[in-house]
Every structure is written in C-alpha cells, then in structure tokens.
C-alpha cells in the first residue's frame, strides 16, 4: 500500500482540476442530453404497440435530425475519454523530471502506475455514471414512463460494460505512455489504434470473410452463415465490436441473438423472437465481457512489466 493512496488522491485531484476533463465532461453531457431529447421526440414511433421496456427504448432510439443513438455516441466518446486519461500517464512524469523524484520516495514502483490506473478508472466511472444518470433523469421527465426493475438492472449493466470499455482504452493508452517517451507519440499511437479499429476492422473482416466464403444471391443459407460467423469472429478482435454487441444484448432485450443470420431465419420461419429475460441477455454477453476484461488486463500487464523493469533515468 506504500504510496498508492497518496498517488491515487493526487491523480484524481489533478483530473478534476484539469481543463482537459472539464471540456470532456461538458462535451459528453451536452451530447447525452441532445441524444435523449431527440429520442424522446421519436419514441412514440419506435415503441409502437409494445408495452415492455419503454424506458430502455429511449436509450436506443435515434431520430432523423440526430442520427446518433445514445449507445453509439457513447461508443465514440468512451475511447476518447480513456485515451485522454492514460496517454501521458507515465511519459509526462518522465519528461517533466518528476519520475525520478517520485520514485526516490519510499513507495513501491508499481504504486505509481496502479494509483494512476485506479484514479483514471474512477474518473471514467464518475463520468459514465453521471452522464447516464442525467440522461435517465431527463428521459424520465420527458416521457413520464418510469423504468421497470429489470430496466434499471439493464442500465446498471450498461454502466458496468461502458466502464470496462473505457478501462480498455485507458490501459492501452497507459501502455503507450510507458512504451513511448514523447506524449505526442503516445497520444497519436492511441488515436491511430482507435481509428484503425473503428474504421478499418469492419472492412478487413469483410474482405477476409468474403475471400474464404464468397457470398452472392444464390448462396445457401449455410454459406451465408459461415461467412457471417467468420466475419464476426474477425471483427471481435476490435473491442469496439465487443462493446457494441454487449450493449445491444443488454439494451435490446428482444434481440435474442446478435447474429443477422439468426434474425433472417427468424423472419423466414415467422418466429419473431420475444424479449429475453435479463439472465439470458447476460449469458449472451458474457464472452464479450470476458474479452474486454482480458484485453484490458493484457495491456495493463504489459505496461506494468515494462515499467517495473525499466531503468529510471532523469534524462
């Protein structure tokens, strides 16, 4: 415990005072409020005759004048927040000449990186909990339909998964802050990974799956299913996909399976899926959650080992 608490406290205080996070907070709150406001205006059409999960629907509806639904918008902002919290964690201490001075104090070396990681995680949690609370509160006022108990639990899961997703991006950024000496390099590297996974992962998965299992209008259902499963397997390398799939299963209970093939079968056979209970939805997202945690753990572990073995020079 030597020093961990002090470092955690200092890092958290720094984050709260920094302009970087004031800007991020404002941006996230504004975007959250805007999406929920639009959603409330379009909810009547989206809910239709259904009587269940009306409150949750509020979170997934988008409008013609605001193409972003709340989860989609979160999936864009969470990586930015994670990167902003982690990209200069270690290398800024080094370039400012603070690292040698700090590590000359009677603290364990890992207290520094652990304290920073925990403080960052706390910031992510505060941001996500507060934005979802604001959005939920505003949604409640706008539509006047209170959430059911299960919907509250699903929102809670949404919060947890979002924090995990943020933790992944932060640990990746912390890793880069250990690997690269310059903060500009580590920031750019983090953003590059994000853009690559966000924009190109789908294209690459499509190319590979299309090459292995070519699909056209005459393809059998089995072939389409093969293509589809390979496509998904590849795109699941991206934590963004894992996040999107979990969010879908959590916030859209009627989505029994996230696979479009299964939906197609459902449509052809005339068996439209009925909403899944929460426990079933959780079973569905369990692999994705484990994947997110594992990716986070790997990034953090590599950063940790590298940092622990490193030579601490002041120049």
């Amino acid at each position: 415990m030597n020093g961990l608490l002090e470092i955690f406290r200092k890092e958290l205080a720094d984050s709260f005072n920094s302009k970087r996070f004031i800007i991020l907070f404002l941006l996230v709150y504004m975007a959250g409020i805007a999406t929920i406001y639009i959603a409330a205006q379009n909810i009547r059409g989206a809910v239709g005759d259904s009587t269940s999960n009306i409150f949750l629907t509020l979170f997934i509806v988008s409008g013609s004048n605001m193409p972003f639904s709340f989860p989609l918008f979160m999936s864009i902002f969470i990586p930015i927040i994670g990167i902003a919290l982690g990209f200069d964690a270690v290398n800024s201490e080094r370039t400012s000449g603070n690292l040698s001075r700090l590590l000359a104090q009677p603290i364990y070396r890992d207290s520094l990186i652990n304290g920073k990681f925990l403080a960052g995680l706390t910031m992510i949690a505060i941001l996500i909990v507060s934005v979802i609370a604001i959005v939920a509160g505003l949604g409640l006022r706008l539509i006047g339909v209170p959430p059911e108990a299960e919907e509250i639990l699903r929102l809670f899961m949404f919060v947890i998964v979002s924090i995990l997703y943020g933790a992944f991006w932060m640990s990746l950024a912390v890793l880069f802050s250990v690997l690269f000496r310059k903060t500009s390099t580590s920031a750019l590297a983090s953003i590059s990974v994000w853009i690559f996974l966000f924009l190109f992962m789908g294209i690459i998965a499509n190319l590979i799956a299309g090459a292995v299992f070519p699909v056209n209008q005459d393809s059998t259902v089995a072939r389409v299913a093969d293509y589809d499963s390979l496509y998904r397997m590849i795109s699941r390398i991206s934590p963004g996909t894992l996040y999107a799939e979990s969010i879908q299963a959590i916030l859209v209970p009627s989505m029994g399976s996230s696979s479009p093939t299964m939906m197609m079968i459902g449509i052809y056979s005339g068996l439209m899926p009925s909403p899944l209970p929460l426990s079933q939805s959780l079973t569905l997202v369990w692999p994705q959650l484990v994947g997110l945690v594992a990716l986070t753990a790997v990034c953090f572990a590599v950063a940790y080992i590298k940092f622990m073995r490193e030579e601490i020079r002041s120049t």
Partner: protein
C-alpha cells in the same frame, strides 16, 4: 563491514550490451562524509548513482546502503536516502508548498508535523516569499533549492545530488553549496556528482575520480594532490627567504624531513608526514618567534587534469 560504513559497493558492474558503463566498482563511504564523484561525461557517475538508488539493476556485484540492498529492499533504502536527479522537475501547476506536501505525504508525513517541517525547510532554502507561487514560475536556481528542500523533507541519513550546480548562476551555486554544507553539519552523508571541480573542493571531504566506469583514484583532496604531485609527501611552506643554519639543522633533524629548499621568498620543507606542529615548536625554541606556515594545497582542477593528462578524454 565497519560500523560507520554507510555505502559499500563490491565489484559493482553495469553493462549495456557490449558497453560497460561501470566496471567492478568498489566504493566505501563512511558516515558523515561529503563525497564527490568526479569524472568526464559518460564515465559512469550517474549510472553508479542509479544503482545506489535501485533505479537500475547491477549486472553483477552488490550494493549495500546502510546494510540494505536497493533492489531487494527499495523501501528501506529510500526511507533513508534522499536523491536529487540531474534534471529535477516539479509539478509546474502546483505551488512549491504543494509539491513539498506531496513528497512529504509519500514519506508518511501528515498534518501539523508536515506543515511545520515544510515551513522550516522553506526558510532553510530561502524560498519563503515564493513558497505559494506555482513552480512553473520558478527560475532554475530556485528549482534546485526547492529540490534540496524536497530531499531534506524525509530527514535522510544519506543525500545524493547529481549535478546540483549545473546551469545555475554563481550566487545560486553558493546557496546550493551552503545548503549541502548545512546538511553535512547535520551528520547527513552526502554524495555529490559534479563537473565543477572547484565547487566540489569547497564542500567535499573526499572525492573519487571516475574514468571509463572505474574509480581511478579516491580519497581526501589534499591526499590526492600529494599523491599526484609529491609522491605522497607533504610540503610545508614557510614565508621566510632564508633560514639560519641553526634553525635549518633543527628542522632537518625532525623525523621524516628529507629536504629543505629555499625558493624565492619562501622555504619549503618536504617531509613524509604533516610536521607543521613540530616545525612551529622548533622555530619557537630556537628563535623565540612564532612562524606562520601552511601545508601546500592543491587545486582539484590540477589533480583532475593530471589524471586525465594525455588520456584523450
């Protein structure tokens, strides 16, 4: 290991691939010493300091700081050792006081004890008027002084300064050196590395000269000078052009004296030991006069140049 030996290295070696930064270093520093590490850039001074702090692992050999291994028992070592790195930095958006508070808390200090300690240190290093300004507005010399306060906050038994006077003006240098002396008076063992030899000479009780990863010579400055220039002998300078024959023969009978030469306005007595006390007694008995004399001193700079003469460094 003797009781008052606070730092001891045995065959300490650090290699980076094919390049060996420190080669089989045996350093012994006793309690209360102010020990200077000298040598050209890249001679292994900083790498040695890093190994003393446990900031890098030795390739072979061992380090003991007050009996503890800096790699295996870093907390114990860092509780007693203060370290000021060459390029010291503080959190620029925090005040000097806040920076010191943070360091204090990392050392387990808190509350009124910490506040009192910080106030005392801010006075010691002469930053009272500027203590509540952000460090970003500080000059380099002020940051160095704050660095010394930062080292002193934990009340270390050993303080290590890496190039504390580089890049600051003469007045700032004096302040820094005075603070080092203050620490030495408080029985803190000080290790200080520098290129600025006359600075080291002012404060050090002993120096070690590094070259290519080794200490080629170490000891008190005056001894190093005698070894380098006088084969270890003492030259005692009397401000008298000529000695009477009687005084001359009395002095030559003192044990260890082997030559008496008159050069210009003074007479130089060469001996194997410091016999100035005895010369004073002999002269007083023979002539009834008290003679002023001094033991020849050497500039660290000359000694240093002597060792690096022709070595191409």
């Amino acid at each position: 290991m003797s009781d008052n030996l606070v730092i001891e290295t045995r065959d300490l070696t650090k290699a980076y691939g094919k390049f060996t930064a420190v080669k089989g270093l045996n350093l012994r520093i006793e309690e209360g010493e102010v020990f200077g590490l000298l040598g050209p850039n890249g001679a292994g001074k900083t790498t040695t300091i890093l190994m003393l702090m446990g900031f890098c692992e030795p390739t072979s050999g061992s380090v003991r700081i007050m009996g503890y291994d800096p790699v295996r028992e870093p907390i114990r070592v860092k509780s007693v050792v203060g370290y000021m790195p060459e390029k010291i930095g503080f959190y620029d958006d925090m005040t000097a006081r806040e920076n010191l508070e943070y360091t204090g808390r990392l050392n387990g200090l808190a509350g009124s004890r910490l506040t009192a300690r910080i106030n005392e240190l801010i006075d010691t290093v002469g930053l009272r008027d500027r203590a509540d300004q952000t460090v970003g507005k500080y000059s380099h010399g002020m940051k160095q002084r704050l660095g010394i306060a930062d080292v002193m906050i934990k009340q270390p038994k050993i303080a290590i300064f890496d190039e504390p006077t580089s890049g600051i003006d003469p007045e700032g240098t004096d302040q820094v050196l005075n603070l080092v002396r203050t620490m030495a008076r408080q029985k803190v063992t000080v290790i200080i590395s520098s290129h600025q030899l006359h600075h080291l000479q002012k404060v050090c009780t002993g120096v070690g000269i590094f070259s290519r990863g080794k200490i080629i010579v170490s000891g008190p400055v005056d001894k190093l000078g005698r070894d380098a220039f006088r084969k270890g002998n003492y030259n005692i300078v009397l401000p008298v052009a000529q000695l009477t024959d009687r005084v001359r023969s009395e002095i030559s009978r003192i044990h260890g004296v082997f030559s008496i030469d008159s050069i210009a306005d003074s007479t130089i007595v060469s001996a194997e030991e410091d016999i100035s006390g005895e010369i004073e007694r002999v002269v007083l008995e023979a002539t009834g006069l008290k003679v002023q004399m001094k033991v020849e001193e050497f500039e660290l700079e000359e000694i240093y140049m002597k060792y690096f003469e022709g070595s191409g460094i």
